[in-house]
């Protein structure tokens, strides 16, 4: 276990050490103390290391993550796990706006609530929110899955492409071209598997499914596999 105290070390120094890890590395378990809302903690990690952050983080924590497992023992500011490629990011508290924005892969788990624009422009990431999400979540989502155990704000899935949304609670309103779709047994099983992967307890049969009506963009079903 390597412990870095941000009261004594800079975020730049922390990130440099994490970027300079060789492959494979023996330095696999990291603990970060006193984040105090600092920005860009543990961004751009490419090794399968485990990073625990003990406290609240600022903007862009765990951005561009590939392969690493990052756990925030607190709340997260704007742009958590932005453009995540793979690996996983978990927040024990709430996440501010644009969590998992444009994420291409991997898993983002928010144990509390996420605010506006959660999963905006998602491109393949799986996002599981144990609480509720704010307005404009999954805006222009192209691929990937957003699972919300609580409620959503207004304009859910506005201008959505081929991302999928599952919501257990109330949807304040759907955005342009987002519609409710049939929830099949296969969908229930996929939600259950994702909840299991995220270690979030919820009844998969309670979820409703939302996605694109495909009226807003020039969708050709022949190209569906490319999304």
């Amino acid at each position: 276990m390597i412990e870095i105290d941000l009261a004594r070390s800079s975020v730049t120094a922390l990130n440099q050490r994490l970027h300079q890890l060789t492959h494979p590395t023996d330095e696999r378990h990291w603990r970060v103390l006193n984040p105090n809302g600092a920005h860009a903690i543990a961004v751009g990690l490419t090794e399968p290391v485990h990073v625990e952050i003990k406290g609240h983080v600022g903007y862009y924590c765990a951005g561009m993550n590939a392969a690493a497992t990052i756990v925030v023992e607190g709340h997260a500011g704007t742009g958590l796990a932005e453009n995540i490629m793979s690996g996983s990011v978990r927040v024990r508290g709430n996440a501010s706006q644009s969590a998992a924005a444009s994420g291409r892969g991997g898993l983002v788990v928010i144990e509390g609530d996420a605010s506006a624009r959660c999963g905006i422009s998602m491109k393949g990431v799986a996002v599981v929110v144990a609480g509720s999400v704010g307005h404009m979540s999954a805006f222009m989502g192209q691929a990937g899955t957003l699972v919300v155990c609580g409620d959503t704000g207004q304009d859910l899935g506005d201008s959505i492409y081929e991302a999928e949304i599952f919501v257990a609670g109330a949807v304040a309103s759907l955005g342009a071209d987002c519609v409710e779709k049939e929830m099949t047994q296969a969908d229930v099983e996929r939600v259950a598997a994702l909840l299991d992967r995220a270690a979030i307890t919820a009844d998969a049969t309670r979820f409703r499914r939302y996605g694109s009506a495909r009226r807003l963009y020039n969708f050709h079903v022949d190209h569906a596999a490319e999304y």
Binding site: N36, G37, A38, H39, G55, H56, G58, Y59, H75, G77, T78, G93, N94, S96, Q97, S115, A116, G134, H135, M136
Partner: protein
């Protein structure tokens, strides 16, 4: 960008912790607003029948002693003036309108940055640590305070265009964002008798709230009316003599974090400003919802 901070002690008398804590919060917001810094402090009240006015002289060599002599001849001055760089706080035993009439006639070169029973307003071009030192923020007492670091978008970088803006008795406003319809609003508020010192959009927002409060609305109702009448992006923090309120626009374009303990409520653009406060780690922390008024009143 811009950074907003607010700190509101829920009970008790003016505390010497307020100044240093606000200075620490402002310091964290330097990168968000390097153009200018300002703050409003709600301190000890003026004596019965008097009010405090924070005056600003653009001329650094201004003869404040001469002004005090003139003021003393015109009005009772129940407390000695306090001088902080380009600002001086006078306590005047007069009606507010009487004083403004006198100032406009004899000293139009001076700006009044804040006036009321408890408010004092200080602002200047520069980074927060430097401005806090200039106005001795580290040694200032109070019950609540608002602060702002500005990255200018809508109007010039000057002391006068810095936040907070105060247009009414003990009322002040700090703002992150930009209003699109401020010129039209300013014209209509001008007809209602609201005074403006600058072409700044935030000053219009402060004037609007002054007008609504004058109509008899409470602070929450005034902010709910603002949701209808303001066009633009805003996170607003508002201070009154005994109150504190937060409002974000309906799409929550600008960031905000609230934190509350048994003793205090704090608001900041980013959590790192709140992290400097005692008890922050154990505080209840949340992001204010869009188009929702949050307000507190001192007991």
């Amino acid at each position: 960008m811009c950074g907003i901070v607010g700190l509101f002690f829920k009970r008790g008398t003016a505390t010497p912790n307020l100044g240093p804590l606000l200075a620490g919060m402002l310091s964290q917001m330097a990168e968000r607003g390097p153009d200018s810094t300002g703050f409003a402090l709600y301190g000890d009240p003026a004596p019965e029948g008097a009010f405090k006015a924070t005056l600003h002289a653009p001329n650094k060599e201004y003869d404040w002693a001469a002004l005090e002599a003139e003021l003393g001849a015109a009005f009772p001055l129940p407390c000695p003036s306090r001088h902080y760089g380009s600002h001086t706080v006078f306590t005047l035993g007069a009606e507010v309108e009487q004083f403004f009439g006198w100032l406009a006639r004899y000293h139009p070169e001076l700006d009044t940055f804040g006036f009321g029973e408890r408010i004092e307003v200080f602002k200047d071009v520069g980074l927060p640590d430097a401005v806090a030192q200039r106005f001795d923020l580290g040694h200032r007492c109070g019950t609540h305070a608002l602060g702002h670091t500005r990255m200018a978008t809508e109007s010039a970088v000057t002391t006068e265009h810095s936040h907070p803006f105060s247009t009414g008795v003990d009322l002040c406003l700090v703002h992150n964002g930009s209003l699109s319809n401020h010129n039209r609003l300013r014209r209509s508020l001008h007809r209602e008798g609201i005074r403006f010192m600058t072409d700044n959009d935030t000053e219009v927002a402060a004037g609007y709230l002054t007008w609504r409060l004058r109509q008899g609305l409470n602070l929450t109702e005034a902010l709910e009316a603002a949701l209808v009448d303001f066009d633009g992006f805003y996170t607003l923090a508002v201070g009154t003599r005994d109150g504190f309120a937060i409002l974000r626009d309906p799409i929550a374009c600008k960031p905000a974090v609230l934190a509350e303990t048994d003793d205090w409520v704090a608001m900041a653009t980013e959590y790192r400003a709140i992290a400097t406060l005692p008890g922050a780690a154990a505080a209840e922390i949340w992001e204010p919802r869009p188009a929702t008024v949050y307000s507190w009143q001192r007991q």
